[in-house]
Symmetry: C2
Subunit: 386 residues, 2 copies
């Protein structure tokens, strides 16, 4: 396999973007990444999108987006793994460059979630769960993550404050991210008094419904050197699934797919979690960030919540998590999220994070963890300073 | 890139399968392929599915199907390129094995199209066209292909009989395929007197709405040799898009994406169309088969229809096309179709086609062409006797 690098990134503002369509958002992010990287062409593109069909009535997104991007006859693939679609796009782009089939591949993600009416978004998102065994019986994602939160609370004594601290910390970071949907700080009290969605999860424990797109350019390390722009190496990639339905799991308090995907990524990179300096993780709900921290081996089971409360994962903590603001503050356009995580890792590793968000610890190794559904799939990538 | 082979295949009966769900169909095909190939595990699987979201309310298909297949933590990706989703799954499986990321990958496809009520299938399929510029204004796929047929008739004098001959020939072949949805012969008169759908296309010019799944196992040629089962080499792969909307094309009488994808596949294989012995092509409508024959360079523009009438593409013709019965007679579960084409090529190249359908010409090289929408994407693969 050839060594592969990320040589440039682009993303749109995340939010309720009423004046741009899915294709507008995608092209803005894609052109941004192409310009940022300095490449004069791409050989292929891979689009992560969870449900163009349900959100905007559009499938065949590879063809549609390559067309609107104006690149004639480009090989363009759409991949899907629910909210991990972006991470999956990144992995398949990595494999395509590593294989020698293509030299320059754009990994990208997009979702337009606000155009659907009524409870359409809740229905569309629920198709990431088991339609026949979970959704048909009334389960939605806040409900499923609430079950996981209750199990975690019961088993480990996780507290309301620990959950709230995740949201507060991610908003602290997101306030420094010009592309964040909610670029402002919140307080513990605001979270704890916000409206209840699915006990114990309140609205400020939940990531929002978001429109947005992100794109990154992958190429060989050899080509990256010649481009003369900042680049980072992709040294590890792991992908794993788990049972799609929560009731089939041995343990609801851990994300097994994240553990397995991380193990694979670490093995490929020849590293352990101790070698990693910071991470973007999939905080679709506050409890998710805590569970993922434990599933990655960063903290022992039941110990992550306390670490968040102590500020260990804050911007100036010993292991910063979600410096971008995470899904909670930056927003969560489900197909784009996994790629937007790579955008943040790239910026941090190349010293380009905006507005005082840049880590002062001079990080060398970053990790991105992106997951689908209630952890039915996970992608983990490790990126390193070249 | 490592040399890659197909070592085993599986598929379900295609048709209106009321007593099996999407997951049932998938697992049946997948277990069939695993058993047929003799592998004792798979490292990864890639699922082609056009619209699980719209047809059955289920996305996150990689997780759901790996789970139901009973393979814990398997990396499982879903890919989509409308009706070319199966061909795309095959290409990404090829790239994954060629890269060295995985040794044994299952390429698979599934679609459950009959469970959706009312005109839902027509709407779901139309999401392969440009929702904002075509579908919103009332276009459906029979309508779009009818426009292409009219253009072809105007430019080349293509006749009603030429279109009908495609359907008759494919039903002749499908009558010999135990997995075909419509395994019976039809006559020119039946086609020409069948109900009009979108002038000049009648119901028997159109492929049906189908439930079904197909799967094939890819591995390195080295591993294939050790398995001791029949295998075929994948020597060429090409992927290209075109404008998703028909009105943006320079020429509506040709499938440019098929031409570009075929050129890439031929270049990779070091072959030309003259080296190919037979093909499975994407006959979603009778006019499509004629246009693809010309786009692949098999016949000059405007000359393919006459060749079909003369029997040149029949089972005993000089270049057999759609020996499986094609989409027309075998059926067209859109996500599975591209993989089912590979199943037929594998069977023909290894002498395993059933019921007297086996080509007597001792074929050495087969080609599969799968496309999405009105040709907005095409995948072309070349397979050869080992």
């Amino acid at each position: 396999m050839r060594d592969v690098a990320v040589v440039g990134v682009g993303m749109t503002k995340f939010g309720e973007i009423w004046d741009k369509s899915l294709r507008d958002l995608y092209v803005e992010a894609a052109l941004g990444a192409i310009e940022n990287s300095g490449v004069d062409h791409i050989d292929s593109m891979i689009v992560g999108c969870m449900s163009g069909g349900l959100f905007v009535g559009q499938e065949h997104l590879g063809s549609m987006l390559a067309d609107y991007l104006g690149i004639k006859n480009l090989p363009a693939s759409r991949v899907e793994s629910a909210c991990a679609s972006g991470g999956l796009a990144f992995r398949h782009a990595l494999i395509e460059v590593a294989s020698g089939m293509s030299d320059i591949v754009m990994a990208s993600g997009v979702e337009k979630m606000n155009d659907i009416s009524g409870d359409g978004a809740t229905y569309a998102l629920a198709t990431a769960a088991d339609q026949e065994y979970e959704v048909f019986h009334g389960a939605t994602f806040p409900g499923l993550y609430a079950l996981m939160a209750v199990a975690h609370i019961e088993k480990y004594g996780t507290t309301r404050d620990m959950l709230a601290a995740v949201a507060v910390k991610n908003h602290d970071n997101g306030a420094l991210n010009p592309n964040a949907q909610y670029p402002f700080k919140i307080t513990m009290d605001t979270v704890k008094s916000s409206v209840m969605i699915a006990d114990p999860l309140r609205i400020l424990d939940c990531s929002p419904i978001t429109d947005g797109a992100a794109a990154v350019i992958l190429t060989t390390v050899d080509i990256a050197k010649k481009l003369g722009k900042p680049y980072v190496k992709i040294t590890g990639s792991g992908h794993a699934t788990d049972t799609i339905a929560l009731h089939s799991r041995d343990d609801m308090t851990t994300i097994a797919s994240a553990t397995v995907a991380a193990d694979k990524a670490f093995k490929m990179a020849g590293k352990t979690i101790k070698d990693v300096d910071f991470a973007e993780v999939h905080d679709c709900f506050t409890i998710a960030e805590i569970m993922v921290m434990e599933s990655l081996g960063l903290y022992a089971p039941g110990k992550a919540g306390e670490a968040v409360l102590k500020g260990e994962t804050a911007l100036d903590g010993k292991f910063p998590i979600n410096t971008s603001g995470g899904l909670k503050s930056k927003g969560h356009p489900v197909g784009a999220t996994g790629v937007a995580q790579i955008v943040e890792i790239y910026k941090q590793l190349t010293g380009q994070a905006e507005n005082g968000r840049q880590l002062k610890s001079n990080p060398k190794v970053g990790l991105a963890q992106n997951m689908g559904g209630s952890g039915g799939s996970s992608l983990v990538h490790i990126l390193e300073v070249a």
